[in-house]
């Protein structure tokens, strides 16, 4: 039984983590493409049009991978977590169905137009199709976050006679306070991924002296938008998210911060290793009192530690939760630093020649992926041991009828399949970067693709 639970959790965690590598870029790029298209439309500048077309191609590859890895997410609620689905489906089924009905139809319909219809449409209509794809993808994000927010902070439901959860108030459920801030934080994170990827490709072009004109556009747009979202990521979205956790999941806060014992003027641990067995942080580097200020806006405030809660309500894997959270915050700080310095250099007109900065920007592309993954790990590990906070435990929610062996078989199947998808995706995106926005192919590349001629 124990091993079945572990495998079903791994199954969802692996497929969800891999899946989210793609939507974060899709959602970020959707916004950036709208910006590029808007500038192209206003200035009638062909460079911006070529830039939009180039990113649309990468968007297309990425979108396909996001779609095919996303379908299993919708299925797994039923296949691997059937007891949970039966319990909560009367409520969260609403948002999952709405995602398909409102977001996916919009997105898929207009994506075809956006990618293949440029010749058939007027510039304004083509711009509109880009906006529709953007709205569709960001709407889809909201419905998923609202679903997760219900699991984090259940509202708008009642418990029916058979023990299942049913919808009591549609608006309370859909406009969950938790969903609002989690959505803002998450979408800002997606925009950061989009900006860092765009900037990295631009920096690559500038450093290798090809497609310089487009490279400058990528760096400029990526840095300006990236700077805005890097700051929004911390304040207000991250800050508000933290306040919600303080208020509604105090035990999660204690575990994230590695606060084993409650105290007044609680310190903020910057570095250090949580020691589960002894209930303390080894080798801590702390700033006194800051955790109290961040949580309650007072130096002397009492912050409850893990010891204030029964052990069976502690998140199961405290070190992993602690490290995920600290990696996320650390990288978030790094993003602000990189983007603010880049913006200053851009403002002074020096960034396109500052090779050291371009190197940093080029090599930073993987970090937003790590930060977004760590952020989701923080949210979902922090919710443990609950599947629906305070209402259903994770160990009660998985499909009892699906054996550990069958779960392992399909988990391995997904791992193999996703490895192939990942390699294909990287290969094709690298190829588009090689071909470039105006179809220049280096000697080492394959034959130019017909659409690039």
């Amino acid at each position: 039984m124990e091993s079945a639970l572990l495998i079903h959790r791994l199954h969802f965690a692996f497929t969800a983590t891999f899946h989210y590598l793609f939507p974060q870029l899709t959602m970020g790029l959707a916004l950036l493409i709208v910006i590029l298209k808007t500038i192209a439309l206003r200035r009638k500048d062909p460079v911006y049009d070529q830039a939009a077309r180039f990113w649309a191609k990468i968007f297309g590859i990425n979108f396909v991978l996001g779609v095919v890895t996303g379908i299993p997410m919708e299925f797994q609620f039923g296949t691997n977590w059937s007891v949970f689905s039966r319990f909560a489906g009367g409520v969260i089924g609403q948002t999952l169905a709405m995602e398909g009905m409102f977001a996916f139809f919009l997105e898929s319909s207009f994506l075809g137009l956006f990618l293949f219809g440029e010749k058939r449409l007027s510039p304004r209509a083509h711009w509109f199709s880009a906006v529709a794809v953007f709205v569709g993808s960001w709407l889809s994000g909201y419905f998923i976050i609202a679903t997760d927010a219900f699991m984090q902070y259940p509202v708008g439901y009642y418990k029916a006679a058979d023990g299942s959860l049913q919808l009591a108030s549609f608006w309370d459920f859909v406009l969950n306070r938790w969903a609002f801030w989690q959505y803002a934080h998450n979408m800002s994170g997606a925009a950061i991924t989009g900006c860092f990827v765009m900037t990295a490709v631009g920096a690559f072009y500038l450093l290798s002296h090809k497609c310089v004109e487009h490279g400058r556009v990528f760096v400029k747009i990526g840095v300006i938008v990236g700077c805005i979202f890097s700051i929004l990521q911390l304040f207000p979205t991250g800050d508000q998210q933290g306040k919600l956790i303080t208020e509604h999941q105090p035990v999660t806060l204690a575990a994230m911060e590695g606060l084993f014992h409650g105290q007044t003027a609680a310190p903020l641990v910057l570095l250090g290793q949580p020691n589960d067995a002894q209930g303390k942080i080894d080798n801590p580097l702390e700033v006194p009192g800051v955790l109290s200020v961040l949580s309650y806006q007072r130096w002397g405030a009492q912050v409850r530690g893990l010891d204030a809660f029964p052990k069976e309500d502690w998140p199961g894997n405290i070190p992993l939760l602690y490290y995920s959270y600290h990696i996320m915050v650390g990288l978030g700080t790094f993003f602000i630093a990189v983007m603010v310095v880049s913006l200053l250099l851009l403002w002074r007109g020096k960034i396109f020649n500052a090779r050291w900065m371009l190197w940093i920007l080029m090599l930073s592309a993987p970090f937003p992926y790590i930060a977004n993954t760590a952020g989701w790990l923080t949210a979902e590990l922090g919710r443990q041991p609950w599947l629906v906070y305070g209402l259903m435990r994770t160990e009660d929610g998985y499909s009892k009828s699906v054996s550990a062996g069958n779960g392992m078989f399909t988990l391995l199947g997904f791992m193999g399949m996703y490895m192939v998808l990942g390699i294909l995706g990287l290969f094709l995106i690298r190829r588009e970067i090689e071909i470039g926005p105006v179809g220049i192919v280096s000697a080492s590349g394959f034959d130019p693709a017909p659409e690039a001629k």
Binding site: T79, R86, Q94, S403, L428
Partner: protein
Amino acid sequence: MTLGALWFCIVAVMVTVYVVLDGFDLGTGVIYLFAAKTSEERRRVLRAIGPVWDGNEVWLIAAGGTLYFAFPQLYASSFSGFYLPLMMVLWLLMLRAIGIEFRAHVEAPLWQGFFDVIFAGSSILLCLFFGAALGNVVRGVPLDATGYFFEPLWTNFKLGPQTGILDWYTVLIGVLALVTLAAHGSHYIGLKTDEDLGRRARGVALLCWPLQFFLTCFSLVATYFVRPDIMANYSSHKIGLLVPIVVVSSLAVILWATPKEKEKTAFIASSLYIIGMLVGAAFALYPVVLPARDPQYSLTVENTAAAAHGLTVGLVWWTLSALLALAYFVFIYRMFRGKVQAGEGHY
């Protein structure tokens, strides 16, 4: 009409729309290697389904989501019970998507030939799986008092108490689905392309017709043999007689229209045939949504539906979103109407 019955109809309509729409691009995949010979022809076939296949597939996701929300318990039992085939369907959907979308990215015969086979092979297997799934739902599954079940891929191919996903009956329905969708895809390609390609697609459609006719008759007899009680709704509600009339007349229209090159008529008739068959199955099952081999454990509309308030609220947003989706589809299909031209767009 109760709320549960209404949502039963909505989900049935969504599944039917899915099969009609995604059915033609699945069927296109089935005949792809035989009907489209040259690289240029294959590109034209992919261009015919390229702008729409993803939207068509969304009907599957949307129908799944709607099923989840309206009948949580049915969703939970059936998805966990059909665990293995569903996971395989997911893998096939992935392969099929990259087969369609990644083929054109590299202009090399080996690369494209590889993705051609991936696209065709996954389409063929998906048609078989979807047919077998329908067969399972009609035949009944080994549900017990817990409301759950688990089916292995196969047991002994007979209809015992512990059935497998595949037995002689579900394989039969799978083959019927394969032939039906192959014909459906041929009609679509006949409608969307011309010259040799269009002619060959019509040829495949004509080849499918006798098979489709024979399998339809045979599967109806077999269904009566597997589930003798399946006719109950038909004998108590005479309106059900419309179903065989639609099925038989649409088959007749296909046979008449295809050789006359009335592609649009043939495609509409093929769609009506699919609608007739699926509505007929839903009509026969109601109010059962997933029959158990032991009838006392059958899942019905009443014992699986979500509570009334959620279903009522759902009607409001579902209607709104379905109207929007309809508008997108009309717009997109109008945008890409007519025969596929050479050398235009991606693929």
